[in-house]
């Protein structure tokens, strides 16, 4: 969903640029608390993995393709604030080196595919974690579902930006239906990839997964309590 230059007018692009700079600024402050000895070695690698996976367009219905956005996967693996930074690095490199995603649209792309998918992916993940069984096996499930929801939401954010500052006259209802329709399908791919990737790390080192911390902490407490009771 890389937005090219020219789709949105200058004021809208400047506004999303300001939002992106603010989000990255806050994330730079907050990420320090997430970057401990366990997540720090993985942060750059998660960004590299998101970049690699974004090259892999998978086919969805009707001669269309889609690729991972990566906010949910990054948030669950290394934390939401670090996730915003990791995805932002990806979009900056893509725009400047690979001419993918407009340069004036860089703020828009960071807001849509970085900030939005991190916020929605992480939010849904945490909400599901609260109701699902507290096991590490549920972490990839919650991550995948968060990822699935994050993609159509990002497409809705694009539609609302287009409603404000789109450079062509496209009926809003039509645009909404088309964008959300195709991005629900792309979201399924996002969910599957996120489930598999988070599941792979959970299988070997659950303690390296930021989003698994509450589950592991709860389990440790149970073990200790059981041990004390015996």
């Amino acid at each position: 969903m890389h937005v090219p230059d020219g789709f949105l007018d200058a004021p809208t692009s400047i506004a999303t640029g300001v939002v992106a700079v603010a989000a990255v600024g806050v994330s730079l402050r907050k990420a320090r608390a997430e970057l401990d000895d366990r997540t720090a070695p993985l942060a750059g690698l998660v960004a590299a993995f998101v970049f690699a996976t974004q090259m892999l367009n998978f086919p969805v219905a009707g001669g269309t393709s889609g690729h991972l956005m990566g906010g949910a996967i990054a948030a669950v693996l290394v934390g939401p604030w670090t996730g915003v930074l990791a995805t932002s690095v990806v979009f900056i490199v893509q725009a400047l080196l690979f001419a993918d995603g407009g340069i004036t649209a860089l703020g828009t792309n960071i807001v849509l595919m970085g900030v939005t998918t991190v916020a929605v992916g992480w939010g849904v993940f945490r909400a599901l974690q609260a109701v699902l069984p507290k096991t590490t096996a549920m972490v990839p499930v919650a991550a995948g579902l968060g990822a699935f929801v994050s993609v159509p939401v990002a497409s809705l954010v694009f539609v609302s930006l287009y409603a404000v500052g789109g450079t062509a006259d496209v009926p809003l209802g039509t645009l909404t239906g088309a964008m959300v329709g195709v991005h629900v399908l792309i979201g399924i791919g996002e969910g599957v990839i996120t489930f598999l990737a988070v599941g792979s790390v959970i299988a070997v080192r659950p303690d390296l997964v930021h989003g698994a911390r509450p589950v592991l902490a709860a389990r440790e407490l149970e073990v200790r309590t059981a041990g004390a009771g015996a």
């Binding site: 366990r38 998660v46 993995f49 690699a52 393709s65 889609g66 080196l97 001419a99 407009g102």
Partner: protein, 111 residues
């Protein structure tokens, strides 16, 4: 907890990323992505303007100096991208970890 070192996990993620970007990417779908297709179907694809980095040697996920082989060109661009993103991401991480401010220490205590 199984006995897999953090280093092994890191090397694993790096290798998977390099293979995905360097090799598997050649087999990715070449049909337009969701937004591109919608813009074509609904008549606003032509509002796209020239890209400021169109002259980059890696524009469009190719390597302009490898003309005759799409597989090599795209794979090379993918590997370069993975390494550049890794370097930028890791550099940023190190910079953030190296400079804790008194402000952060207070926040940690409060948490």
């Amino acid at each position: 907890m199984k006995n897999v070192s953090t280093r092994a996990v890191a090397v694993g993620i790096l290798l998977v990323s390099l293979v995905l970007a360097g090799v598997v990417s050649f087999y990715a779908a070449s049909t337009p992505d969701g937004l591109t297709k919608v813009s074509e179907d609904h008549g606003f694809a032509d509002t796209e303007t020239d890209h400021g980095a169109a002259d980059s040697p890696f524009a469009g996920y190719g390597a302009s100096f490898v003309d005759d082989d799409d597989r090599l060109s795209g794979g090379f661009a993918g590997v370069v991208g993975v390494l550049v993103v890794l370097a930028a991401g890791t550099g940023l991480t190190l910079a953030l970890r190296r400079r804790p401010t008194p402000d952060d220490a207070r926040e940690t205590q409060d948490a």
